[in-house]
């Protein structure tokens, strides 16, 4: 059943070691991807460039501007002297927010009538816009309460106070949330291609035809490709996790042994998927195109970018057949929440079952005859 397994492992290991340049690239590329995408997906909005058009200019109006700046979300980069000037700065893209304080700001505060502070927000960057909107509302609310309590007098305590506490990621750093997911997506893609290319390359070079007339068994050939690239996959995983820990300062809260164990299961499933792809494709270009079928759902439907719970049913189910989905859950569980085994094992089991099904399918589909 495993006839030829050792010979294939021997040969494949030679191929890998003989070509240190490719080996180096295999390790470098996922690290590069993590670095580039890691910074790109950093959704923390800080220091939104802001222009102030202050028609009042007295002490209370300056305090209001300070309130904005003190949140850390706004940085005043200039002052405007007309509506058009403020508007123009936003259109030009120099600033994303404009704050206009009316000339009678201080007076209306004193008389107790409603004063209107205009905040213009550039909606073309939805993340910054949302942040600016929420913060402005919060500031308006906070300032109003202060003023009200002063006017009403005697009220020193809030009647109701909500105290949200964000668990596991107290600073709401997107790095903490995004980077483990990104690790999952990147590993999914690069590792799948390792085995897909390993077989398709032999098709291109005609060496597979020669192998097909030997008594090598299908399982021997498939596993013989899987094992050496499994080691490459382990090295890639370690290097990427190392980069996550050092460059992005994402701590691994949970058990490192769990992480290692589940990563091995994920590697098995993903390498098997690569082998399955190789049975559909005749050259490396086709294999690459095929991998996009997995790549896009890994990015968009795996829960990496968007929460899966809000997806339409069919899209949700597509996401459920992508191995990255389960691996990302496991990674976030272990790295961010120090999740116990009970919370992880079913994702691991699904991954393992997927792997067994995929490698069985790949073995059955692999023919020792030419098309």
């Amino acid at each position: 059943m495993f006839r030829g397994l050792y010979a294939i492992i021997y040969k494949e290991t030679r191929h890998i070691l003989r070509d240190p340049k490719t080996l180096f690239l295999m390790l470098l590329i996922p690290m590069l991807e993590l670095t580039i995408f890691g910074y790109a997906v950093n959704l923390d909005v800080k220091n939104i460039p802001t222009v102030v058009y202050n028609l009042d200019g007295r002490e209370p109006s300056r305090k209001l501007v300070d309130a904005f700046v003190n949140t850390g979300y706004f940085t005043v980069v200039g002052t405007a002297h007309s509506d058009a000037g403020m508007y123009g700065a936003i259109v030009a893209g120099n600033v994303k927010v404009g704050i206009k304080i009316p000339p009678d700001f201080t007076d209306t505060l004193v008389t107790g009538t409603t004063t209107k502070v205009q905040v213009l927000i550039d909606g073309s960057d939805s993340t910054s816009a949302l942040q600016a909107l929420n913060t402005s509302n919060a500031i308006a609310f906070g300032q109003s309460i202060k003023i009200l309590s002063r006017v009403v007098g005697g009220v020193t305590e809030m009647p109701l106070e909500v105290r949200p506490r964000i668990l596991f990621n107290p600073d709401m750093k997107t790095a903490n949330f995004m980077i483990p997911g990104l690790v999952g997506v990147i590993l999914q893609v690069v590792i799948m291609l390792l085995t897909a290319f390993a077989i398709v390359r032999e098709k291109e070079q005609g060496t597979l035809e020669q192998l097909m007339v030997t008594p090598v068994s299908r399982l021997g050939l498939i596993l013989g490709k899987l094992v050496p690239y499994g080691f490459v996959g382990i090295c890639e995983s370690i290097s990427v996790l190392f980069l996550m820990r050092t460059l992005f300062q994402v701590q691994i809260a949970g058990n490192i042994l769990y992480l290692a164990g589940f990563t091995l299961i994920f590697l098995f499933t993903t390498l098997s998927l690569g082998l399955l792809i190789s049975t559909f494709t005749d050259n490396q270009i086709q294999a690459l195109q095929f991998s996009f079928l997995i790549l896009l759902p890994s990015f968009l439907l795996s829960g990496f970018m968007f929460p899966q719970e809000t997806m339409p049913a069919i899209i949700y189910w597509i996401g459920q057949v992508v191995p990255a989905t389960y691996f990302i859950r496991i990674l976030r569980g272990i790295i961010l929440r120090d999740a116990p085994l009970e919370a992880l094992w079913h994702s691991g089991l699904i991954l393992a079952c997927m792997g067994v099904c995929i490698i069985t399918l790949a073995t059955l589909r692999f023919r020792k005859t030419l098309a």
Binding site: R3, G4, A7, Y10, K11, G206, Q210
Partner: protein, 326 residues
């Protein structure tokens, strides 16, 4: 018109094919090929490019399923028992298909492992094939750095490592230099002497002459099969009442056009600086005179036996004419 040297299956038959056919969509690449090849033969499989040689070999090796017909190798059906077939044969495909980034030794070790040769016997077995093909001094050389001839020798060594009784070589001498070609053939004769049967495809006539048996495949059909001597004596090649002449004269191309206008000339083909003429018996002298009258004086003729090339050219023309009529 199918010709076999024996109609009965002898006990030493090693390849037997009956009505072997392979279609790719509408196109029939191999059309009802019958073969009966005996142990110890060097069977030369001739045919122009695209005639179906590789397809036949792939079917015999169990690499391609026949669309129709059947074949047995050493008694094993190639379709239903292809794994048994694979254990008993060696195969060298048309293009170099060893691992260029592995050394000679590593390629040999790999194939020794794949064929399940017991670990203890491997070094001895590898040394044995290294000695046979004489590649000893290149042991550590990467396969891709070998010259064409040495690549073929390495491929042969890898295909021999499990001591197959039957070897399929698909155009082993294509693209290698003449000296290496000669050496490779000498090696094949050595091995054939040790009892290995060879099935070798080629399109070199001189190689065909050296084979013990020849099959000629043309446009997917096996037209003829037999020993070189048998083929040269085929009545279609030299019909009753006709002779083959070798004719020398200046301005040979023009002379040939002229020859074709004589009604007693059945066929004329240029071979390098001579024309091979198939003419009716008794016109040997008249040819020279007629050529002289048409402005080609000084021609000489003498009778020759048919060459294999004559055989293939004649049969191909005949087949093309028949196809044309259909």
């Amino acid at each position: 018109m199918m010709r076999k040297e024996s109609a009965t299956i002898s006990s030493s038959t090693i390849i037997k094919a009956e009505g072997l056919t392979r279609r790719f969509g509408d196109f029939t690449a191999v059309d009802h090929v019958d073969l009966d090849i005996e142990q110890g033969d060097i069977f030369g499989f001739l045919g122009p490019n695209g005639s179906g040689k590789t397809t036949v070999i792939r079917m015999l090796c169990g690499l391609l399923r026949p669309s129709q017909g059947r074949a047995t190798i050493l008694g094993n059906d190639v379709q239903h028992n292809s794994e048994a077939v694979k254990r008993s044969i060696g195969y060298m495909s048309q293009q170099f298909s060893l691992y260029g980034d592995l050394s000679v030794m590593e390629n040999l070790k790999f194939y020794a492992g794949i064929y399940g040769i017991p670990r203890k016997e491997r070094p001895a077995r590898i040394n044995e094939v290294i000695d046979i093909v004489g590649i000893g001094e290149y042991r550590r050389q990467l396969a891709m750095r070998l010259s064409g001839g040495w690549k073929q020798r390495l491929a042969l060594a890898c295909a021999l490592v499990h001591r197959p009784k039957l070897m399929f070589l698909d155009e082993p001498t294509a693209g290698i230099d003449p000296v290496a070609r000669r050496d490779l053939w000498n090696l094949l004769f050595d091995l054939a002497g040790q009892g290995i049967t060879f099935f070798v495809s080629t399109h070199y006539m001189d190689e065909a002459e050296r084979c013990s048996h020849i099959g000629y495949i043309y446009f997917s059909k096996l037209i003829v099969c037999g020993t070189p001597g048998d083929l040269k004596r085929l009545p279609e090649v030299t019909p009753e009442g006709a002779v083959r002449l070798e004719l020398r004269c200046p301005r040979i191309a023009a002379a040939m056009r002229c020859l074709n206008t004589f009604d007693y000339v059945l066929d004329a083909t240029i071979f390098a600086d001579v024309v091979h003429v198939l003419a009716q018996e008794g016109y040997e002298k008249q040819i020279v005179d007629d050529l002289g009258r048409h402005g080609f004086p000084g021609a000489t003729v003498h009778p020759i036996p048919a060459t294999l090339e004559d055989v293939f050219v004649t049969l191909s023309r005949k087949r093309a004419k028949e196809n044309g009529r259909v």
